[in-house]
Amino acid sequence: MSLGKLLERIVQLVPVLLGVSLIVFVMMALTPGDPVQIMVGEQSITPAQEAELRHSLGLDRPMAERFFIFLMNAAHFDFGTSFYHGRPVADVIAERLPATIELSLVALVVALATAIPLGVMAAIRKNSLLDRVATVGSLLGVSLPGFWFGILLIMLFAVHMQILPVSGRIGYDNEVAAVTGFLLIDTLLAGDIAAFGDALRHLILPAITLGLPMTAILMRVTRTSMLEVMRQDYVTFAEAKGLPRRRVLYRHALKNALIPTVSVAAIETGSLLGGNMIVETVFGWPGLGRLVVESIFLRNYPLIQAAVLLYAVTYVLLNFIADILYTVLNPRVKL
């Protein structure tokens, strides 16, 4: 990976961020619902007060002007003040982000660690009992709405068996100095094994709920592409040449078979980050997704804009990583 490629990627980021910002602005302009009205709610307010409020939120300017101001400020990493928090949007988002990333990464790791071995095994022993069980089992994972599955898990493990907590990230007796914001890391840095265990216990149910559908998808993709690769001429050829089957499978076939897996994993991780508001709601997980959905309903424009930009950057980064992995897995693919 040359420096030039890296620069090229960064340059590519610009149109994506512009496009995303523009779409958000257009959607906000076309969506009925006035932030000032929502904010005022049932309170009484004089027209003068209302105009004042509108002005102080910067909503009295035309849409195009607001878009321009937003772009200029965003270029300096200034995303404005949240309508509801009385603080810079960047701060509000930064507080919530680690929880979301931590949950997503743990879910991703669980999914990959389960899906790839299962998918490969299922492909190698196609139509075996293992294949069928894994296939049907993985499908169970995508066949249940996450919120429902999450509630079932809570009922079973938290209410009935009382071995795992219902909600939250960590108990309240643990005081953890925030270094990275990731509790699993921070507790270890603090050398507090009990707190680490507590954080882990809080992660189990949400991570399973979030990771299970992804496990199912990745397992199926891995199985299919593994089967496909095993049919390719070069694999047959290598086998015919007398190379050990195991070596052919793992050294040659698996690498190529993982390309679609990586591609799908990158996409799914993006949607994990932005799609976990449901898991966050069910498990009272203090992440960003919940905040963004709430902001949409409240028309908290600055927060929506900043969050969507953040998601876009994350997505592009993830794909960058996926592209690097492509070349590692299959040198014939040129970036």
């Binding site: 590519q12 994506v16 496009g19 995303v20 779409i23 959607m27 076309l30 969506t31 069928r132 296939t135 049907v136 499908l139 169970l140 995508v142 066949s143 249940l144 709405p145 996450g146 919120f147 429902w148 509630i151 079932l152 009922m155 559908p213 199912a216 998808i217 199926r220 993709v221 299919t224 089967l227 496909e228 049919r231 001429d233 390309i259 679609p260 591609s263 799908v264 996409i267 993006g270 949607s271 980050l273 932005g274 799609g275 508001m277 449901i278 997704g289 963004v292 959905v293 949409i296 309903f297 969050a307 969507v308 998601y311 876009a312 997505y315 592009v316 794909n319 492509y326 014939r332 693919v333």
Partner: protein
């Protein structure tokens, strides 16, 4: 390769028949096909087979347990929901909505996705840049947030749900097709076809597409499951189908609140989703295993 497969067919039996026989031998796939058929018949014949009016509310039957449980009534075999409506009848009618949403979104999305992905992966250059940027922009939006935004913008309604879900769904097959095309276009047989003077259309449709179709089918079927679930997610966020229409997703979502008091309200539609999705996937896998020459044993 196709030619080789045809040559290997015993003379007395056509390829189709042999494939059909293979498929029939796959008992799991046959069972799934039957399940799907049952659901489709259920959806089509809903007015004939539903024991009750699915929208008839009666608060006196609120949260009535299933027929076999104490306090149940076999006229309402699977019990009643929070408004005293018959859950069985709502599941039967709900099959229409859920199947429609799943099919509509997936057909729309897969069609667009294949075209865009093939073009991007084959032509590369500026076509790839443009399509990839559009895909990036759309994928840069978290899926649900985009759907919520669109729903807020367009207002509720069945067609709007389909659009809100399809707007982004197409980028997933597109991404996969592009990635696969990138890999496949370098393979010998594509090079060979190109050397023989085949045009891009021929190469894309005849040489590349058949070779990358299986992952697309796998992903599309799984995504169809996902679409049905996403519809439930929209319901969870208060943006689902309009009442009193029953969709399985909205039934699970509305029923989740009662899960401690009346498990049947969300469990039966949940099982319906599970069965259908499972069946579609198993059957599609069986079909492909039987009909795709590259997979025939």
């Amino acid at each position: 390769m196709t030619d080789a497969a045809i040559l290997s067919v015993p003379q007395a039996e056509s390829l189709f028949r042999r494939n059909l026989r293979d498929f029939r031998r796959n008992r799991l796939a046959m069972a799934s096909l039957i399940v799907i058929l049952v659901f489709v018949v259920m959806a089509v014949a809903a007015p004939l087979i539903a024991p009750q009016d699915p929208n008839e509310t009666d608060l006196l039957r609120r949260l009535q347990p299933p027929g076999w449980a104490p306090g149940g009534d076999w006229a309402y075999a699977l019990g009643c929901d929070g408004l005293g409506r018959d859950i069985l009848s709502r599941i039967i009618y709900g099959a229409r909505i859920s199947i429609f949403i799943g099919l509509a979104v997936i057909f729309l999305a897969t069609g667009v996705g294949i075209l865009a992905g093939l073009a991007a992966g084959y032509f590369r250059g500026w076509v790839d840049v443009v399509i990839s940027r559009v895909v990036d922009i759309l994928l840069g939006f978290p899926y649900l947030i985009f759907a919520i935004g669109l729903m807020a913008m367009m207002g509720p309604g069945l067609m709007n749900i389909v659009l809100a879900l399809a707007y982004k769904e197409w980028v997933i097959p597109c991404r996969v097709v592009r990635g696969e095309t990138l890999a496949v276009r370098e393979l010998e047989y594509v090079e060979a076809a190109r050397a023989l003077g085949a045009g891009p259309r021929h190469i894309m449709w005849r040489e590349i597409l058949p070779n990358i179709l299986s992952p697309v089918i796998v992903i599309s079927t799984i995504r169809m499951a996902n679409v049905i679930i996403l519809e439930a997610s929209l319901s969870f966020l208060g943006l689902g189908v309009q009442p009193p229409t029953a969709s399985w997703g909205s039934m699970v979502s509305d029923g989740r609140a009662f899960i401690l008091e009346a498990w049947w309200v969300s469990t039966f539609p949940g099982i319906a989703i599970l069965l259908l999705v499972l069946a579609i996937n198993v059957a599609s896998q069986g079909l492909r295993d039987a009909f795709d020459p590259r997979f025939s044993e």
